[in-house]
Symmetry: C2
Subunit: 222 residues, 2 copies
């Protein structure tokens, strides 16, 4: 499926194509797609316009390529840090096991985002945008789908509430994104252990079932 020789060559002589992608990433997150003409990208990459369009047939294809690149990097980073051996018997997990796995994925993702701030900003700004067409989006399995298995397992043993799994996934995802956005603006925070703990517990708490006392309080509110 892959041409290994080619891959290796490209890996050790990345040059123009990679420069273009790098320059595009920098400019896109600063100015957005539309305020970044291809001429500006090629200039920043020290490359002629013709070269840019030799590697990417259209501007849109450049954007897609960048999106795929980033998604795949994230995915492989998560795979490394949370190997599948971490999912023992999907039908026989207790709360601690689930929380353990959830924590590892959560931690890896935040770490990767903080280590790759440009890539994070790109995803954060554009992964919902109309510029990335559905076809492209479908070409990568979502990095967050790791979590779906967990949600279903957790719901089965009443560790999680009964909201639809897709919604839980969305809530967790946006919690992570919001956290990272804040952490990137407040650099030293992530060093503090108690901040990590609070953030993680805050994220985890969203998933927990409604307790009796909570229901009561809400009814009284109403």
């Amino acid at each position: 499926m892959f041409n290994i020789k080619n891959t290796l060559i490209k890996k050790f002589a990345p040059s123009k194509r990679e420069h273009i992608l790098k320059a595009a990433l920098d400019l896109f997150i600063q100015q957005g797609f539309e305020k970044t003409p291809t001429s500006m990208i090629s200039k920043a990459a020290n490359v002629a316009t013709g070269t840019l369009f030799h590697h990417f047939k259209t501007k849109e294809e450049l954007i897609s390529a960048l999106y795929l690149d980033i998604k795949l990097s994230l995915q492989s980073a998560l795979l490394v840090s949370t190997g599948s051996e971490l999912l023992p018997d999907k039908n026989n997990m207790d709360e601690l096991m689930i929380k353990n796995i959830f924590y590892r994925v959560w931690f890896s993702m935040i770490s990767w985002f903080l280590d790759n701030p440009n890539e994070f900003k790109f995803l954060s700004q554009f992964s919902d945008s109309a510029h990335i067409n559905g076809e492209t989006r479908e070409r990568v399995e979502d990095a967050f789908s790791e979590w779906k298995v967990l949600f279903e397992a957790g719901q089965k043993i009443h560790v999680f509430n009964k909201l639809p799994a897709d919604l839980l996934l969305g809530l967790v995802t946006s919690h992570v994104f919001t956290s990272c956005n804040f952490l990137l603006d407040n650099n030293s925070l992530w060093q503090k252990k108690n901040v990590q703990v609070s953030l993680f517990e805050s994220c985890w708490s969203q998933l927990m079932p409604t307790t009796q006392s909570q229901s009561v309080a809400l009814v009284k509110v109403k």
Copy 2:
């Protein structure tokens, strides 16, 4: 400060200007700013280009006006449903009072978003975007700042965790946005009382302090 006569006249003879704003909103949320030429907006509003630029000096000014319009609508909707008499003595609130107020604001906001899906989509897509310049953004007090007072009060009496108030605000905001996005795609869900309860408790839980048992679990995970 305001010219009442003018305001009333505009209110009862909205016509062109409002048509333009309405058409722009519809098109922007479907296609984004850049893929929506002004010519398309004026056509959809049954108006000549000249008219559009008579009311809005530039396209950017149209975008800003739309943003301000929507923010102000939301703000006034929240003010109505949560009058200031709901904030009794800021220095003497117990958990139930805080939760009560928090619930009212939360509920009003979700209701308004679901009742005004286009306005919601606009804010959801564009309020972070670079197209809305900082100056414009500062011209409206953020609708969510209502919550800030609550967070500080809650933290004082240890109802909330110790994460920075700005971060808590961000987490709650993104929880609401994610919820609404999901609810708009799954229309019947919001009718179910237990979904409302679960969603609210999920949002509220993010704010709660880390308990002893939670800390223990996390340490074991590590």
